[in-house]
């Protein structure tokens, strides 16, 4: 167990080391895109502004202005595109050939209240992760809510299968993870990554998920086979609530790879902002 964790750390730090030059490269063209302007120049990259100079007044009513102008670094570099694309295809097949059919079968045989209970249980068990990251981000009030929720749901909700903290006391929980904590301290995404099984990520979030790994109770389950089983249950149960979402996104997209990438980046930025 120990050596596995160390190997993982080594791999991640090696990735960071070898990809260091990409991070610099990616920030190279930032100044171009960062041109201060009342229109949407900031949203376009250096190449397209060469091509299409002078069309800006079309969007001068800056409907989308506040989002797309003031964030010059809107796009996240994708230096590992081919590798990422291969992983994306792999995950896509994995979803349609394995995850989805399994989740469907699971949904069919598992009563809804049980599925909800399992989801609540896993959510409750991730209390350490949320608590630590709320604290690290200086969100004291939210950390206190987390403690209350954990205490009430663990004791009064049968290890978190039920959520009296939410439906009786109206206490909220706050999903904060290590990637968001880094983001909170102005660590940039680095570059885009698609991880096998786990899906879209960035260098920053991938490093963060190593920290999250150590704060997740499932990590400490022995033997490893049982840990794998428990994690799989968590994943399948989670997917069973979201069958159809990925399909819809893919169906609506002209370029699913970019659509997923952008959705991930937008979602994470929103989470960090909150």
């Amino acid at each position: 167990m120990k050596s596995r964790q160390i190997t993982l750390l080594v791999i991640v730090s090696a990735t960071m080391f070898f990809s260091g030059n990409y991070v610099v490269e990616a920030s190279d063209h930032l100044p171009v895109a960062a041109k201060p302007s009342g229109t949407l120049v900031g949203a376009a990259d250096a190449q397209s502004s060469d091509n299409l100079e002078g069309t800006d007044e079309l969007y001068s009513d800056d409907l989308y202005g506040d989002e797309y102008v003031r964030k010059p670094e809107k796009s996240v570099a994708d230096p590992l595109y081919w590798l990422n694309y291969a992983m994306f295809s792999f995950n896509d097949k994995l979803y349609f050939w394995v995850l989805k059919p399994v989740a469907r079968g699971y949904k069919f045989i598992t009563p809804d209240p049980l599925r909800s209970g399992i989801r609540n249980f896993f959510h409750n068990s991730l209390f350490p992760l949320r608590f630590v990251n709320n604290l690290l981000q200086g969100k004291g009030g939210q950390a206190v809510s987390e403690v209350k929720s954990f205490a009430i749901n663990t004791v009064g909700g049968g290890l978190g299968f039920a959520t009296p903290a939410q439906y009786v006391f109206g206490i909220k929980t706050y999903n904060e993870d290590m990637g968001q904590t880094f983001g909170r301290y102005s660590v940039k995404e680095g570059f885009y990554l698609v991880l096998p099984l786990m899906g879209p990520s960035t260098l920053r979030d991938a490093v963060g998920s190593v920290g999250d790994f150590f704060l997740s109770p499932t990590t400490y389950i022995e033997p490893a086979e049982l840990a794998l089983g428990v994690s799989s249950l968590d994943r399948i149960n989670d997917v069973s609530f979201r069958i159809g979402d990925y399909e819809a996104l893919k169906k609506a997209a002209l370029d699913p790879y970019i659509s997923v990438k952008d959705a991930y980046i937008q979602m994470r930025r929103k989470q960090i902002q909150e």
Binding site: Q47, L58, D61, A252, L254, A263
Partner: protein, 204 residues
């Protein structure tokens, strides 16, 4: 102790009803539009298999009355918009709105909408644009299939027109922004090719 209880009870009962945070105009327009769509979805007379197309058409019309598909299309194309001629723009808007409507109507069509609940959490007026278009951000939580999804609507009001939705953000992901990112690197594709691509996507 009893006194305190009595005071608390009085406070509870006599607190003036929170004045609805003075429902703002865009929020009312949105509520009405969304309710109209939901009532079509829940209309048993339209639920039968034979009336599926009629229902789809009705949903599209209802959607058209609160969504500004022109702005959707323009925002999605981003800088590419400038390369489109007037007729190409009209054609793109027509096809693109079909694509969006098809995707989402198809998705809601095969789902059960009885447990759908929408709460309007916050409406915020945003600064108007330079050309005087009023804007608002309306935050909602959608409860469906035991999942809560935050959905924000961006609405705008041009002078003399109604409030319309020009962007939707689901879990913080802007629909228009997502398409814009997909089209961002397409400056070498001809407008006709881009329109053709949308058409093919619809017929898939």
């Amino acid at each position: 102790m009893k006194k305190i209880m009595a005071v608390l009870l009085c406070m509870f009962f006599f607190t003036p009803a929170v004045p609805g945070a003075a429902d703002l105009e865009p929020e009312i327009v949105l509520r009405n539009g969304v309710n109209a769509i939901i009532s079509v979805l829940n209309d048993p007379a339209l639920a039968s298999e034979t009336r599926k197309d009629a229902r789809k058409e009705l949903l599209f019309n209802k959607a058209e009355s609160i969504f500004d598909f022109n702005e959707f299309s323009r925002g999605a194309l981003g800088r590419n918009w400038g390369r489109f001629s007037d007729s190409q723009r009209t054609e793109f808007i027509k096809q693109f709105s079909r694509l969006i409507a098809n995707t989402y109507i198809a998705k809601i069509d095969d789902e059960n909408f009885e447990d759908l609940k929408i709460t309007y959490t916050k409406t915020e007026m945003l600064a108007a644009t330079k050309s005087g278009i009023e804007r608002a951000d309306i935050a909602t939580d959608v409860f469906h299939n035991k999942v809560v999804t935050p959905v924000n609507y961006r609405m705008m009001k041009k002078r003399g027109e109604d409030w319309k939705i020009y962007d939707v953000k689901i879990e913080g992901v802007s629909l228009v922004g997502n398409y814009r990112e997909q089209y961002r690197t397409r400056f070498n594709d001809s407008p006709d090719k881009i329109i053709q691509e949308v058409k093919e996507k619809i017929s898939q």
